[in-house]
Amino acid sequence: MPLFAKKESEVEELIKAHFAKVGETLDKFNKFIYAYLEKNPDYPSLSYAVHCAEHEADIIRHKIELKLYEGAFLPIYREDYINLIELIDKIANRCEDTSDIMTLTHPEIPDFIRQNIIEMVNATLITFEVTKEGFEIFMKDIKNVFGYSEKISSKEQLVDKIEWHTLSNLFESELELSKKLLLKEVIQSLGKISNRMEDVGNQFELIAIKRKF
């Protein structure tokens, strides 16, 4: 089969590399968050590491897009792959955005929401694990990916739930409004990372549906 699908196989390899790089970005983001919460002075360099990993993911995404525009895959399927990589890329983008907000604005994290943020990050990592599982199945055998949209969505709901409680706690607190608003932005930005994973799950199913009769 590679004889007839050289370009397509190359694109698939690049998509795998891109997903791995996005996973690496998330991993670096996780280290950054813990460093920030622990007030580790190295957190700006960890934020920079997130930025670098995201940039490397962008380079791979650009290579994939070039290969697709050079004629890999039928035009009818090409758009699906472009949409998929853009959605996967947005996971890394959100990690970068969140770390940027935190590095630039240095918000003080009050103790009463510290644990919630750790829980949100952990739930985001769990959501990514399910997304990764779905991605691996999608790359091995498209038709078996059905059901992953729901699986990812159920994990993402947990992040949403923690986000809601965290925001609720935040606005019930005695903090200054300006601090509340800044923290709200950080929390919502953190919540959006798993939202992008949910979008990826939906795209897996959409592609699988389009390949059915």
Binding site: M1, P2, F4, A5, E8, S9, V11, E12, F73, L74, P75, I76, Y77, Y81, M139, K140, D141, I142, K143, I207, K210, R211, K212, F213
Partner: protein, 308 residues
């Protein structure tokens, strides 16, 4: 050469219109460029015409005994009918045009073989129905195979579709040549003006000229309509059409590739549920059944009256 003008003109119009039914999907999905499709279609049409084209020619001489003047009237009437109906946007079938023209052009001087003509009509009705049944079976078969096969990655799936569309396009072109060349020059064999081989060669070449010179637009539009079903379903539609038309080649009756593909699309619609069946397309078949032979018959009858 003038006596073959009607047939060649008819072949040209057939190539320009009907190549879309076999290679339209490949062009619309960009599996191949137009010129690759035109070259492949030309090769396979010519192969079909030369290897099996004579099978459907016998019936032309069996419907009525045709002389030289009548061949000119019949082929010219059929070609004019095809052209006018195509311009008016009414789906026209070359098989039905030539049969209608044979009846109209000869009925003044002889009684046609109604029994043979009845068989032909039965095959016309059977074409979309047969194609629908084949599409229904093929659809379920492919669906079953896909469900049972493991490890179909995006790249593999893409290759399967590419090859499938290309192979069914070549099959369809072969069937088109084998079955429909009789419409174009079969009448000259009946009138003992050409040998079956020469008739297949001239007819095949005139279809090829039609494909190369004028089929691009029809390929784009028809191909796009079929492809709206999705590439897998489009593949089934073209494959079913090719099989159906090929079966009728062995029966020895020229049939319509356009009606075969509409039948196949209807068969796929039935798999998805009755709501997915396009009633408008079915109406077009019924209109085609009536309008094409009747128009060709009237033109041929009037021309024969005028000449005599």
């Amino acid at each position: 050469m003038l006596k073959f003008f009607g047939g060649i003109f008819f072949g040209w119009s057939l190539g320009a219109n009907d190549a879309a039914n076999v290679f339209g999907t490949a062009v619309a999905t960009r599996v191949v460029r137009f010129w690759t499709a035109a070259i492949l279609a030309s090769i396979f049409v010519l192969l079909g015409a030369l290897l099996e084209g004579s099978k459907c020619m016998k019936i032309m001489g069996e419907i009525a005994q045709i002389n030289l003047n009548q061949t000119i009237i019949v082929t010219f009437s059929a070609a004019v009918t095809m052209t006018i109906l195509t311009i008016l946007g009414i789906p026209a079938s070359s098989s039905q045009a030539i049969m209608g023209a044979i009846l109209g052009g000869t009925i003044r001087t002889q009684t046609p073989n109604w029994a043979k003509f009845g068989n032909v009509i039965l095959c016309w009705v059977g074409t979309p129905i047969g194609a629908a049944i084949i599409a229904f079976i093929l659809y379920h078969l492919l669906d079953f195979i896909f469900k049972k096969t493991t490890g179909i990655t995006g790249a593999k799936f893409n290759t399967i579709i590419r090859l499938g569309i290309l192979i069914t396009g070549c099959m369809g072109a072969y069937s088109l040549g084998a079955n429909n060349v009789a419409n174009v020059t079969g009448i000259y064999v009946g009138a003992k003006l050409l040998s079956p081989f020469m008739a297949s060669f001239i007819g095949g070449l005139s279809i090829v000229v039609g494909i190369v010179t004028y089929s691009y637009k029809v390929m784009e539009t028809v191909g796009l309509k079929i492809t709206l079903l999705g590439p897998l379903a489009a593949l089934v539609a073209v494959g079913s059409e090719a099989i159906t038309v090929y079966i009728y080649t062995h029966i020895g009756i020229p049939v319509s590739t356009s009606q075969a593909i509409v039948g196949a699309v209807t068969g796929i619609g039935l798999v998805r549920g009755i709501r997915a069946v396009n009633i408008k397309l079915l109406n077009q078949i019924f209109i085609g059944w009536l309008s094409t032979p009747v128009s060709a018959g009237i033109i041929a009858f009037l021309l024969s009256l005028f000449i005599h």
